[in-house]
């Protein structure tokens, strides 16, 4: 069986650099980590490989080259190959262009199933998985929090999806795209101490536009259908710590506060 995981590297949302001139995230200067939902997809792929060692598991991502050490760590965990799509031309791509680029690469890889996360913690649009599924004409489910390992075959999968107030179990024909949530139990392990310096360079492939051959006008900012033009950060608030008593006057203060802030 062949599984392709498509993942995103995200800046640590508590600690990132944002360029207010160009309205892009300066990923080269921000510490990048694997998006938590996507890490679950990787975790499930590893679980399956552990069960069935012939399973071929691959990872595809589009990111700046600074993520190479993290990709190498993924390979050290036992992934068969990693493909990094990286080119200055692709910088500033919106979800539409990103999905197009990722789809064009995945299309050339044989697969029985594509795994991804549901949400990304930075943009939090959840667009890319659905868009890739559409591009590749695949069925797709989001919010998956459990996949039945015994019934995960080349032709179908049984998955449990988390809804607002219930869980629904689906059977879905493969190939399809399955998006997991971080509530799923498939933890991505860390590289063991003894493997920290394993050489995995042979299994890492970097693709630039030289290989992909897109017209520069179709990709990056110029190919995007949407463009971030302004941003503002919320100011760090200073608390007033106004102290009131639990009497009529105090309740009125709270009531007015709730009302003026739109909670009532």
């Amino acid at each position: 069986m062949r599984i392709v995981c498509v993942v995103k590297f995200v800046p640590d949302v508590d600690n990132f650099t944002y360029n207010y001139e160009t309205h892009t995230i300066e990923r080269e200067h921000s510490p990048m980590l694997i998006n938590p939902d996507d890490a679950r997809a990787l975790g499930f792929a590893l679980t399956m490989k552990k069960r069935e060692p012939q399973t071929c598991i691959e990872v595809v991502t589009m990111a700046p080259r600074s993520v190479i050490p993290q990709l190498e760590d993924i390979l050290r965990l036992g992934f068969d190959s990693a493909t990094l799509i990286s080119d200055q031309l692709f910088a500033g791509s919106d979800t539409y262009v990103t999905s197009k680029l990722l789809s064009s690469v995945i299309r050339k890889i044989p697969y029985d199933c594509i795994l991804s996360g549901t949400h990304a913690i930075d943009g939090d649009t959840s667009h890319v998985p659905s868009q890739i599924a559409q591009s590749l004409d695949l069925d797709h489910l989001n919010f998956i929090h459990h996949i039945e390992e015994e019934r995960f075959t080349c032709s179908s999968a049984v998955v449990e999806v988390e809804g607002e107030s219930s869980y629904t179990t689906f059977e879905i024909a493969l190939p399809a795209l399955l998006s997991l949530t971080r509530e799923s139990a498939y933890r991505l392990p860390y590289v063991r101490y003894k493997n920290l310096n394993l050489d995995v360079s042979e299994r890492l492939h970097i693709l630039t536009n030289e290989q992909l051959g897109f017209d520069p006008a179709e990709v990056g900012l110029s190919g995007s259908r949407t463009q971030v033009v302004s941003t503002h950060t919320k100011e760090h608030m200073t608390r007033r710590k106004k102290v009131v008593k639990s009497d009529d006057e105090g309740i009125e203060v709270i009531y007015t506060f709730l009302k003026s802030n739109g909670f009532i």
Partner: protein, 314 residues
């Protein structure tokens, strides 16, 4: 004239009215013809509000079937050529919208909170980075303009009624995805405190957790708890805030009888509005609160509930 499609998802007819307010802000000075797409969905809430009700009844077309729904949207758009398509950011809306936008090769903006149309140049505002950044996004390309809107962000203010035209969609070309439902089960705690916008949180100084529910309901929020209450087995760990529980990000946090150990307040500092009720006004939690109510939690809750209800009656 502009033609706009709003998707009225089954079970969200009332909430879908807010999409019409978004439409008004999107094209403030133009005549807009509004179309509602209803797939196996009850139209009564939207009847008399939208100009055209496009209805499709097909029990075999399931709400989670992205492939099938994407085909439907594409066919409908081919038939009517909309200038904009709007979705509610429900779990399903957020899945279908991107696949439709990809098929139509157009841009999509998720979770829009504000809209500006400056001489035809449309900018949409949305939060990113867990709400730390608000981004203004310009729509480029041929369109249609596509966006999703969170429930409760826009409020429908229209009062005029129109004579809605009902059109049953016939002869649409669409497939069915290869997905089958095998079963469902209810969640034990039917909400996730990480998603809640308002949290009413009880601690050791709050002797009756059940009485918080009414206040939570009035403020459209949920009940959460500090470790002290969870450890006593009064409430499940699933609603515990803090280091060994969950990191939450509501817009309003009301801390009732919570001391505020570092493990609890880790992550609370960025919450826009915090009210704490405590008999000790020097308890650590009070240092990160906008308003501190000095007193017992439960009498406060009862008084506030009474005040809110009074306000509703007026």
């Amino acid at each position: 004239m502009k033609k706009v499609l709003v998707y009225v998802e089954d079970g969200y007819a009332q909430e879908s009215l807010s999409l019409l307010e978004a439409v008004r802000q999107l094209y403030p000075d133009q005549h807009v013809e509004t179309y509602a797409l209803l797939i196996n969905s009850d139209a009564s809430a939207i009847d008399g509000v939208c100009d055209v009700l496009l209805t499709l009844e097909d029990g075999t077309l399931q709400p989670f079937d992205q492939k099938g729904l994407c085909d439907v949207f594409t066919s409908v758009h081919t038939r009517y050529s909309f200038d904009a398509i709007l979705f509610l950011a429900t779990p399903m809306g957020r899945c279908i919208a991107p696949s439709v936008s990809m098929r139509l090769e157009t841009g999509l903006v998720a979770d829009v909170t504000a809209i500006a149309n400056d001489d035809g140049q449309i900018s949409l505002i949305r939060p990113a980075y867990s709400g730390k950044i608000m981004a203004g996004i310009r729509i480029k390309g041929e369109g249609p303009v596509m966006m999703s809107i969170r429930i409760g962000v826009f409020t429908y203010q229209g009062t005029d009624t129109v004579q809605s035209t009902n059109i049953g969609l016939e002869g649409l070309d669409y497939r069915h995805g290869n997905i089958k439902v095998m079963g469902t089960k209810e969640k034990k705690i039917p909400y996730d405190i990480r998603e809640s916008d308002v949290l009413i949180s009880g601690g050791a100084g709050c002797s009756d957790m059940e009485s918080l529910q009414d206040l939570a309901d009035l403020l459209g929020g949920h009940v959460s708890a500090s470790r002290a209450v969870v450890d006593k087995g009064i409430v499940p760990r699933a609603i515990q805030v803090g280091q060994s529980g969950k990191t939450v990000s509501p817009s309003l946090y009301i801390a009732l009888g919570i001391h505020g150990a570092l493990q609890h307040v880790e992550g609370l500092k960025d919450i826009p509005h915090i009210i704490s009720v405590n008999t000790n006004k020097d308890a650590p939690i009070c240092s990160i609160s906008d308003i501190v109510v000095e007193g017992d939690a439960l009498p406060f809750v009862a008084k506030l509930i009474r005040r809110i209800k009074e306000g509703q009656q007026r």
